[in-house]
């Protein structure tokens, strides 16, 4: 195990220290002078940089909406097919395909599908809706985040379905039976008996998906490139822009460290709950 730990330490600990050093300087690729400025980069990001705050908001909106949609779809489908799970088997392969595809391919597909003139989504909506649907998915700032949300739900909804189905199938029949005998049914049976029994798996699914969603990058890079304007720019995409488009490495490093700080808190609790649930 020594090689594994050494490799990981070398590629995380050293860059981490270096990132702190960079973040404390005005460090632009285009300028040779790199004066020490203390925590000014952090201050600017937190208090003067509306674009940074916007990226946090967009990330939270996209992550929470997509997580909620995927979860509701997954749970609904899992409950529906709980007793008919044999049927799911023959389609499982098919609905798992989106999950295996690279997120960049999903992003590219979304960019075509949501195009208002040649995209097929408006075409299909026109069949279901009266009149000619012409929604400007990609050029409307309020709709662009929705494109990311829907594309992510398309890719990961089936995952939620299958994982929650696995959870339901593993629940103990006896407990349910006792509850049914006691007269529990409908929503109360679900809330008091079914939900607690699938809690560990539920937690794992939500945590894994949530953490992935908080660092959404690939999908954004291909589907909307953060636009129009900055309406769908997530934190990771903004950090990337800071460093690799504006070449402001000081600000980029500071933003990355702020994100790391916020995420570490989430990761700490999340990993702990996953480790516990897995045991």
């Amino acid at each position: 195990m020594a090689p594994a730990v050494l490799l990981l330490l070398g590629l995380t600990a050293y860059p981490f220290g270096y990132a702190i050093y960079i973040s404390l300087h005005t460090w632009k690729v285009t300028r040779p002078a790199r004066p020490f400025i203390g925590f000014d980069n952090f201050r600017e990001l937190l208090f003067d940089d509306e674009r940074f705050i916007n990226s946090i908001e967009q990330t939270l909106i996209i992550a929470s909406s997509a997580l909620a949609l995927e979860f509701l779809f997954g749970l609904g489908m899992a409950l529906l097919f709980w007793t008919a799970y044999q049927r799911v088997r023959w389609v499982a392969t098919g609905i798992l395909v989106p999950m295996m595809i690279a997120p960049v391919v999903v992003g590219f597909t979304a960019r075509m599908a949501f195009n208002n003139s040649f995209g097929f989504l408006n075409q299909i909506l026109s069949l279901l809706w009266p009149g000619d649907v012409n929604i400007q998915w990609l050029s409307d700032p309020t709709l662009a985040p929705l494109v990311i949300i829907l594309a992510d739900t398309w890719q990961w909804g089936p995952f939620m379905f299958l994982i929650l189905l696995a959870g339901l199938l593993a629940t103990e029949g006896d407990q349910l039976e006792a509850a049914v005998v006691d007269g529990a049914k409908g929503f109360r049976l679900f809330w008091n008996v079914v939900l607690p029994s699938i809690k560990p798996i539920l937690l794992i699914a939500l945590v894994l998906r949530g953490l992935d969603l908080l660092r959404t990058f690939d999908l954004v890079a291909l589907a909307t490139r953060g636009g129009p304007g900055i309406s769908s720019e997530t934190i990771t995409f903004y950090i990337y822009n800071l460093s690799f488009k504006f070449f402001d490495l000081g600000m980029g490093a500071a933003a990355a460290l702020l994100m790391l700080g916020g995420l570490s808190i989430v990761v700490f609790f999340a990993v702990r709950s996953v480790v516990r649930a897995a045991r």
Binding site: M1, P3, A4, V5, L7, L8, L11, T12, P15, F16, Y18, A19, I22, M77, W82, T83, A84, V88, V91, T93, G94, L96, P98, M99, M100, I101, A102, V104, V105, T109, A113, F118, F120, W154, P158, F161, I163, A166, G167, G173, D174, E177, A179, V180, G186, I204, A205, L214, A221, I239, Y240, S243, F244, G252, A253, A256, M259, V267, V275, A278
Partner: protein, 284 residues
């Protein structure tokens, strides 16, 4: 009462069979329709890429997009880069990772914290380490090289391998190894002669999943490679930044090339997909 009967009663009112089948078919349609669209687009002539209203079936089937993508845009090179980098990194990560996993599983090396630390690395966004690593790699001449990319892919796939393989090793009964130990086998030969063969299905599934994840990786090659070492995902995104306008057909063709191998591999290990996707937490 049998378990089967209980399953039938709770929550669900007698939904009709037809309704369930319809719901499944709808889900299947939703999942596959966009992919069908991409495949069809890759065979369309240029005029139909952006026709409004959209056409599903190509009026005139053509493989021009494939020719352009493969030779003019050097998709062949990107595919080759992907195969080399992801292939070697997968083997490296599997070797280092399963050794580490075995040691965590049998000797609890480093205690629980180190295993948790390894898992948490998986959840950190690579963008955080990108700039310092890039400077570091440029200094030591690893930027834009197979060696550098393979090193990074290996490192970022390790947590996954360690966690999944640890789960598979944990499932092997200790008795076999203990008796081998009594007979005088070294730990390393126990590992190669018993642990690895006994976890062969898990080993195979982990290898393929690692390959699939590596195949999808976008950020590392985006930052650490220039045109010469582009992999399929970066090549796909490069179409958008170039001034030539939008080449939907060749992009769709490249997407098909990118999708095909992973879907075929996924079919082989369908049984282990959920387990892999949850780092072994859900046995599925």
């Amino acid at each position: 009462m049998s378990r089967v009967r209980t399953r039938r009663s709770p929550l669900r009112r007698a939904g009709t069979n037809a309704g369930l089948t319809a719901a499944l078919l709808l889900a299947l349609l939703l999942a596959l329709l966009p992919i069908v669209w991409v495949v069809l687009t890759s065979f369309k002539p240029e005029l139909e890429w952006v026709s409004d209203p959209p056409v599903w079936i190509p009026g005139d089937w053509t493989a021009e997009s494939y020719t352009q993508m493969w030779t003019d845009d050097d998709g062949a090179g990107a595919l080759w880069n992907s195969l080399i980098i992801v292939g070697i990194a997968t083997v490296a990560a599997m070797t280092i990772g399963s050794l580490a996993a075995y040691s965590f599983s049998r000797f609890r090396t480093g205690g629980r914290h180190i295993v948790t630390w390894i898992l948490s690395i998986k959840f950190l966004p690579p963008v955080v380490f990108a700039v310092p690593l890039l400077i570091m790699f440029t200094d030591v001449g690893l930027y834009d090289s197979y060696r550098g990319l393979i090193l990074l892919y290996t490192a970022f796939q390790l947590p996954f391998v360690v966690w999944l393989m640890k789960g598979f090793f944990d499932e092997i009964p200790l008795e076999i190894e203990e008796s081998a130990r009594v007979d005088g086998c070294s730990w390393f030969s126990i590992f190669t002669r018993f642990a690895l063969p006994l976890s062969a299905p898990g080993l195979a599934a982990t290898t393929l999943l690692t390959f699939i994840f590596g195949w999808s990786e976008y950020f590392i090659p985006l930052v650490f490679a220039s045109h010469e070492h582009f992999t399929v995902p970066v090549q796909l995104s490069a179409y958008f930044s170039e001034a030539v306008g939008l080449e939907w057909g060749p992009q769709a063709a490249l997407s098909v090339v990118g999708i095909l191998p992973v879907v075929l591999l996924a079919l082989l290990i369908q049984k282990y997909l959920i387990r892999g996707m949850t780092f072994g937490a859900v046995k599925g």
